[in-house]
Symmetry: C2
Amino acid sequence: MDQVNLKKLAKELNLAVSTVSRALRDSHEISSQTKERVRELALKLGFQPNPHASSLRQNKSKTIAVIIPEIENNFFSQVINGIESVTPSKGYHVLIYLSHEDYNKERDILQLLRNGRVDGIMISVSNTTSNYDHIDAWRQAGIPVVLFDRTSEELDVPNIMTNDAEMAFKATEHLLKRGCKNIAFLGMAGNLSISNRRKVGYLSALEKFKIATPPQIVELTSKDYTNREILRKLFQDQPRPDGIFAAIEKFAVNTYEVCKEINLHIPQDVKVISFSNLQAAALFDPALSTIIQPAYDIGREAASILFKLIEKKMLMPYEKKMILPSQLIERASTAVTGQ
Amino acid sequence: MDQVNLKKLAKELNLAVSTVSRALRDSHEISSQTKERVRELALKLGFQPNPHASSLRQNKSKTIAVIIPEIENNFFSQVINGIESVTPSKGYHVLIYLSHEDYNKERDILQLLRNGRVDGIMISVSNTTSNYDHIDAWRQAGIPVVLFDRTSEELDVPNIMTNDAEMAFKATEHLLKRGCKNIAFLGMAGNLSISNRRKVGYLSALEKFKIATPPQIVELTSKDYTNREILRKLFQDQPRPDGIFAAIEKFAVNTYEVCKEINLHIPQDVKVISFSNLQAAALFDPALSTIIQPAYDIGREAASILFKLIEKKMLMPYEKKMILPSQLIERASTAVTGQ
DNA sequence: ACATTTTTCGAAATCGTTTGCAAAGAAATT
DNA sequence: AATTTCTTTGCAAACGATTTCGAAAAATGT
């Protein structure tokens, strides 16, 4: 409506538009008196420069995009929180996109953003993504990209993640030390590198401790219903697993649900440990042993690295592949039961 | 870099820029043959119009902002999910801002957005917000605003929320019917209308059932540590509450933590019910009775209404104040114990 | 007093898209 | 055949901020 713009300020002050613009950007070629006059009026009228005009002229949007598979997941919420801990101070804005674990959506989103709407993107790929050309196209175009958590070895872009294999090893080792003989790994369908890392940790623990029973790798999805179906079958088979290592929180929840339903006792009949960022895990019945990922830090670091790229700063070697350690919290779901 | 724009397309096709533009927007004044030629090349070169140029020219950004107090809360995550269920099909983009329960941040964010960066905003106010002028300024400027969940009666903008008072009444009634004599209400500090609505429901239930013991209203914050401190004191006082009605999930979690710590048994010693959107509430020890808010629907409806405003459509009367019902799920934390 | 530098400011081009208006040609009407 | 109408296209002016270039004014040096 009565939008206040540079022209209006200039007219009011009897100055040229260019002078007003320079004054507000604190240019050295404007006298401090005029700067003061300009700033005063700008403040009084609540002037905010039109972002589209600036973006068009300067060819930068002061906006980044965050593309995640889903948001109803504590991990990703915490990551966003971490990202938001850096963006405002940089004067940046954050666009959120959900791929809903769908490669086509992910590709379309990236295509949609391909014309200056954002200065960089942070992405955690969907579990149906196996081709990374849509991401590589950005790298080729010279637009900063950072991958976090669900990363890819194929792409020459910074990866920020946690020590998945190591923690998966420890989780499996933990179950073995608590007496489990037959541990099943609940992984995500698809061939995400993160799932592979966790699977590798699981397998190498079994190998290191020379477990005779073959590994049991169960692939679950994002659908609670089918997951429970699969888990019911799993627990009916002989030999029944006496240890469950869930690669993601949702699968642990599904496991609890099914155990309750078919009257299997945790930890007596089966012990459970899971990657999870839920504060309430300690309140579960029984309290769930978890591997907590540094989600907030991952978001913060990933954003910081993205800004370094945007500002064309050099990255330190360790910033190209940053691994932030997770933490294993032992609780009742993996306790030894005397029987 | 080698950005493809209208000028490039025009030159390639030997057409005027305006013709290409019109062809891509499917204008009636362009022959179908040229349209075809233009579209073909545009597709081949992967042309995406520069959003800043369009926004500048058309004075609309195809972007909305969502301002929430925090994101590490299942409720708000689900709301965002609901919002995102409408935005892509409208060709809109979603900016996320966190006020961190800080009125000043909230005001600054709104100020920052005041120049066409967004076509509308959706906001759930912070609990330190008691003055609504910063929001009213938007309404006055004619830019669409929608409030959700944490709404305000003062403002003449659409409010989308749940039936807080009614459900608070039911929750309190539920505790009373399960034998509680001394129910404490855990509300949020500040004077949010949503807290008031829930408090009113609590009080009117006590009144209706002619409870002699005075109401006990406890104000908690977003800091776990201080909350636990306060709760410890609460449980030491005599008479000790035998029922807890938590207005938000976090407070129920804090209650569980403290009860575990000081060895109070739920539901024998104290029964607990809470507003909560956590799927895992059923897995708590004991399973937590909850009032589930239709978070996804709130997000979806709020976004739909915002788009109606943006498209300058008339709102139905019920859309100006939309109340979506919550659901009470009774679980073990409010079970009657035979003793 | 004159030349030179420095300071301060304005005019105009620019970013890429959209759109009002004019113009040219084809088709239809009289 | 002359006129009007319709279709299709191009030209040029927006949108608002930034920035290059250059001019005027002031300050400095000789």
